[in-house]
């Protein structure tokens, strides 16, 4: 039971209090670049989730064999291996979605968030805990991407997941690539605002 509780904590931590996109501000490139629709966000989120979980588990299994001085190159090569796997799988089975994401699937290899989790968590903790931590971080990234995609798709083309919801296009500007910066910036400001408001309502000084 105790294990279940801690695994739940690890997952919720990744999604909420340490969300990779909104809280840690890591791996911003795809958050701005391809989050034009919910579907794109979901697809890349799944890819990142896969790489994060498998790299975390791999490093956690071999943590006692890896010499501390060469740990960073080891992490990089582990991630690169799993990225190659997901890259080839997506190219073979989901060619359309793969074409939309373009180079960003291959660029998962340079995501700071994955290396950081390996360095901070997986190389110290047990395989089980690393799995749940990787799952939490991956889900956090996926949720973040989908939330940005949701707003951009809704405001830009009036659609959700390809279905026409509003019937008109409120602000075509949001579908333009450069609007990604504005959406992410405004959402970060929104999260900050909630935090400040929450602290004030509790009578704390921020």
């Amino acid at each position: 039971m105790a294990n279940d509780k801690s695994s739940m904590q690890l997952i919720t931590r990744g999604i909420l209090s340490e969300n990779p996109i909104f809280k840690l501000a890591l791996s911003m490139c795809p958050a701005v670049g391809i989050s034009t629709t919910v579907m794109n966000g979901l697809m890349l989120g799944i890819a990142v989730l896969f790489v994060q979980v498998f790299s975390s588990v791999t490093i956690s299994i071999f943590k006692n064999v890896i010499h501390p001085r060469i740990r960073i190159p080891t992490y990089t090569l582990t991630i690169a291996t799993w990225v190659t796997v997901i890259d080839l799988v997506l190219a073979a089975y989901l060619p359309e979605a793969y074409a939309k994401m373009g180079i960003f699937v291959k660029l998962i290899v340079a995501f700071a968030i994955i290396t950081m989790r390996l360095e901070m968590f997986a190389c110290k903790e047990s395989v089980n805990a690393s799995f749940w931590d990787g799952l939490g971080m991956g889900l956090g990234f996926m949720v973040g991407m989908m939330v940005i995609g949701f707003f951009r798709e809704l405001l830009g083309s009036g659609m959700i997941l390809g279905y026409d919801v509003l019937g008109f296009k409120p602000l075509l500007f949001f579908i333009l690539p450069s609007a990604g910066f504005f959406v992410v910036g405004l959402m970060m400001a929104f999260f900050n605002w909630i935090e400040i408001y929450y602290k004030r309502s509790k009578g704390l000084k921020s």
Binding site: C29, A80, I103, V109, A110, F181, F182, N192
Partner: protein
């Protein structure tokens, strides 16, 4: 006198080196070029039949990527000596792409086909400008953002990071190009490209670190800290992946890497200049830090949209 001779030799050598690119045409066509954006000038090695050369119906012209779209010729004017013809088009041409011209019945040959394109140096420069401004990696491709927001607080940091980054990217891109063309392709190991490229990048960073530490400790003290950040940057792995996709040769790879690095330096410097002013400004508390940086970057991205369609040559 000797200087003049050396210059002459260099010039001849340059022309010889570029000759395959400039004149790989048939014997009949001596020279061809874009005279303006609505005119192609073709020079022949000897005088040609005026009736054939001036008949618009004898020419077919299309852009190399779209053979189905035939461009309409307004007129073909033969020069007095009959050795050159200028083809005038009804609409402006996109001189960035190669044009394929076919002439029928000229000098008794059924059809003569040749391509007209801009000079190779102009094309190389085009790649550089494209990577630097039109397809700036930060503002129009959205790569390298983590490092971009992390190191664009001060102008000095921005300059240091940009210079180190450009250095590493040029070296690693050339190495990746070599490995890709001479090892990955011949042995059919294309599926290993991510592993190989990221390995090469880490290796380059480590090598630059070691060399710089020995050769110029002062420079290392001021720039060394940025080297670690370079690995975590997506631009540095994106450049090898792009050049693997587009079959660039060594010179084109060099230009792309230089443009990517220079573009990153430019973006960092612009952003840091704004950031220094932002520190003095009165920003709402919710927007302090990253949110306002994102809004500014968004405005830069919109400004960089203005570069699309830019052509210098």
């Amino acid at each position: 006198m000797t200087l003049g001779k050396i210059q002459q030799t260099i010039l001849v050598a340059l022309v010889l080196c570029l000759a395959p690119f400039l004149v790989h045409a048939e014997d009949l066509i001596a020279e061809k070029s874009f005279k303006s954006n609505t005119e192609i000038l073709v020079k022949f090695s000897g005088p040609v039949d005026r009736a054939i050369a001036e008949d618009v119906k004898n020419y077919t012209v299309f852009e190399e990527p779209d053979p189905d779209i035939r461009l309409t010729l307004k007129s073909a004017i033969l020069a007095e000596n009959g050795k050159s013809v200028s083809l005038v088009f009804a609409e402006p041409l996109n001189t960035a792409v190669a044009h394929v011209v076919t002439i029928r019945g000229l000098a008794g040959i059924e059809s003569t086909t040749f391509t007209v394109s801009k000079s190779y140096l102009g094309y190389l420069f085009g790649i550089l400008i494209s990577a630097l401004l039109i397809n700036n990696f930060v503002f129009t491709k959205y790569l390298g953002l983590c490092v971009f927001f992390g190191t664009s607080k001060k102008k000095d940091t921005a300059k240091g990071m940009g210079v180190v980054f450009t250095l590493v990217i040029v070296v690693s891109a050339l190495m990746s190009w070599f490995f890709y063309n001479f090892i990955l392709i011949p042995y059919d190991l294309n599926f290993l490209q991510i592993v190989v490229f990221i390995g090469l990048v880490s290796l380059t960073v480590q090598a630059v670190d070691t060399v710089l530490r020995k050769v110029n400790p002062i420079l290392f003290n001021s720039f060394g800290v940025y080297l670690v950040l370079v690995i975590a940057n997506c631009v540095i792995i994106a450049v090898p992946l792009i050049l693997a996709n587009s079959n660039y040769n060594a010179a084109e790879t060099f230009m792309l890497a230089l443009g990517a690095g220079g573009g990153f330096l430019l973006a960092l410097y612009l952003m840091s200049a704004v950031s220094e002013r932002l520190q003095l400004a009165n920003i709402p508390q919710t927007f302090k830090g990253l949110p306002i940086a994102f809004i500014v970057a968004g405005q830069f991205a919109m400004a960089f949209l203005g570069f699309s369609g830019l052509q210098l040559f």
